[in-house]
Each structure stands twice: as structure tokens, then as C-alpha cells.
Symmetry: C2
Subunit: 190 residues, 2 copies
């Protein structure tokens, strides 16, 4: 069901029935199995994804062969590699389902054409992008100013349900410390 997307759009702008129809025609509802990838390093990203249900993540594999999660997307978040998407260059990232996930996928060509046709939709994506950017600025602030332990507690306090939901090693790398260290923080051994 695409209702959650339309509800989300309603928060920022309005679409008339014709516009809704047009938008609906470019949406591809898709189920991604846990651990399945929708993008791998080296591929060009031509799609943006809206999470209807479940959880996606963006990660890289570092020089020691360990996965590091850079971003999560849960219900009502968009996720893609915007650099690859806009510049048509190979991606540096993996996009993977953390759980069995339902997404709405939109292809770049179809979307870009539609955005020119529907200013309200352009507006929606502008606002969402700017807000996400604001969240990213705060994320960098936290990474820069808090110790590993502080980052863990802060995240745990703000997203307790999320911490239950995904494997610890993904949270650890998202907060930029090792899975072992997170385990020690949790055990109160720090």
C-alpha cells in the first residue's frame, strides 16, 4: 500500500487527484528480503526508495573487510545514494534490507520527468531533502562532540525500540565504534 507515502507527502504539500494518479503510475511497490541488496558498490544508482515497512541501511565495507553502517532508513524515510544518482557515477555504497522490508521504488528518469510536471512534488522532495540534511548536520555534531559511550547512551535514550530491532553490530558501526566496544559499554565495563 502506498498510503503511507501519500500521507507523508500531505504533511508538506498537497497533490490534486490528477497528480496523485500520475505519481501512482511511477511507483513500484517491492518487497525486499532481509539481507537482500538493492544496490551494491560499483553499481550506478538510478532509484530512490521509500520505506513503507521494515528497515533498510546504507553501508560500506572498510579496508579490514568489516561492514560499517552509514545510514538507516525506517518507515517513512527515503534512502538512496544521491551522489551516484545525480552524477551517474558508480556508487561507493551498499543498500540492503535489515529486515524483510516493503519499499516504494521510483526510477530516476520517471521521477525527474514527473517533478517538472508537478511542482508540488518538487516541493515535497526539496523539503524532505533539506530536513534530512538538517538531521545529518546534527548527526555529525554528535559524532564530533560525544565519546563512544555518550553516543551509545544518547542513541539508546532516543531510539530504544530501534536498538532492539537491529543487530548490535550495525548500531555499533553506525555510531562509529566496534561491536566489541559496544558490548563492553552495555555490560557496564567501561
Amino acid at each position: 500500500m502506498c498510503k503511507s507515502l501519500f500521507d507523508h507527502i500531505e504533511k508538506f504539500t498537497t497533490l490534486n487527484p490528477t497528480e496523485i494518479d500520475k505519481l501512482e503510475s511511477v511507483l513500484n511497490l517491492s518487497r525486499i528480503k532481509k539481507k537482500e541488496h538493492v544496490l551494491k558498490e560499483g553499481q550506478i544508482c538510478n532509484t530512490i526508495y521509500f520505506v513503507v515497512k521494515g528497515c533498510m541501511r546504507q553501508y560500506i565495507i572498510n579496508s579490514r573487510g568489516t561492514e560499517q553502517t552509514l545510514q538507516f532508513a525506517i518507515e517513512n524515510w527515503w534512502i538512496t545514494d544521491y551522489l551516484s544518482y545525480h552524477n551517474h557515477v558508480p556508487s561507493s555504497f551498499y543498500l540492503q534490507a535489515v529486515e524483510n522490508t516493503e519499499v516504494i521504488a521510483i526510477e530516476k528518469n520517471a521521477l525527474e520527468a514527473l517533478l517538472i510536471e508537478i511542482p508540488s512534488l518538487e516541493r515535497y522532495f526539496r523539503i524532505v531533502s533539506e530536513k534530512t540534511f538538517g538531521a545529518m548536520q546534527m548527526r555529525i555534531k554528535y559524532l564530533f562532540t560525544m565519546s563512544a559511550e555518550e553516543r551509545y547512551h544518547h542513541f539508546n535514550d532516543h531510539f530504544p525500540e530501534f536498538v532492539q530491532r537491529v543487530p548490535q553490530y550495525m548500531i555499533a558501526s553506525y555510531l562509529d565504534f566496534s561491536a566489541e566496544f559496544m558490548s563492553k559499554i552495555r555490560a557496564g565495563k567501561i
Copy 2:
């Protein structure tokens, strides 16, 4: 002169003469002296800034009283605190001129009204925001995967002129290490 902004807009979309006039009417050209602030922590950010000439930075003061630069904006970049701007909450950041800087400032109210009027402009800001977001994703990747020394060399290789232009302690904090450590890297003592 606002030519640089119009040139930048031309890269992504086109405005007709009427639209250019309307846009021009909301632009405030302003000179910011080196070290002068356009936003301080606790204030609500109602303005976005386009750097015509010079350099601005976003920074915070950490718990030990040290400034940490989170973002730079040089010629043709936009800078603001998007969280404060969109949610109308007190900012966590300082926005300051690194050099004597010419900016084009636009007030939120005027801009948001204009964006509804001029879809092409909405389009411009959407694309710029998404591209900046893509750059931020890469920045986080570098922060996560490279050692302090690697980050320094990488930055130095990609932006040698910029490293000359701003104080080292700002670069150091932008790359998330101490000024002292940067000094040691430069001296080859690492």
C-alpha cells in the same frame, strides 16, 4: 553582484526574466567581516546564505571549550542550519565568516513564498540540497573509514588551495582531529 548565483541556478534550471526579477527582489547582498557571526548558538535561523566570495563556516563549541568546524562553505555554496530553519528551533551552531565574505542572504518567509510561485526555483533548491546531501554521505564515509592521517592527506590532495586559505586548526577540527595532531602529521612525525 548576484551574477554568480544566477550562473549557479542556470546550471540546474532556467528562470525567465520575470522570475529573475522576483528572485532579485528577495536577495540581500551583504558583507560579513572576518570572524563576524551571522548566527549564534541558541538563535533561530531564518536565513539561508549563498557565498559569493570568501568563506563561511559552521562550528560548535565542545564541552572543553574548543571550537569544532562541522562545515565550510566557499564560493557558490549555500550554508544555513536547516534544522533550525525548518523546525523553528534554537540553533546548535555558529555560522561565522572565515575571511571577509560577500554573501547573498535570503529570508525564509520571502523565500518560501517565492518557491511556491516559481517551480523552477523549487527545482533548483531541491537539486542543490540533494547534491549537498550526497557530498555529506561521502564525508561520513571518509570519517568512518580513514585514519586521521589518511583524512589529512586525502583532504590536502583534493583541496590544496583551500588548506592554504584557512587556519589549520579549523581544517583539523573539520577532519575530526586536534590541531596538535595535525601539526605532527605535517611534520612527518606520525
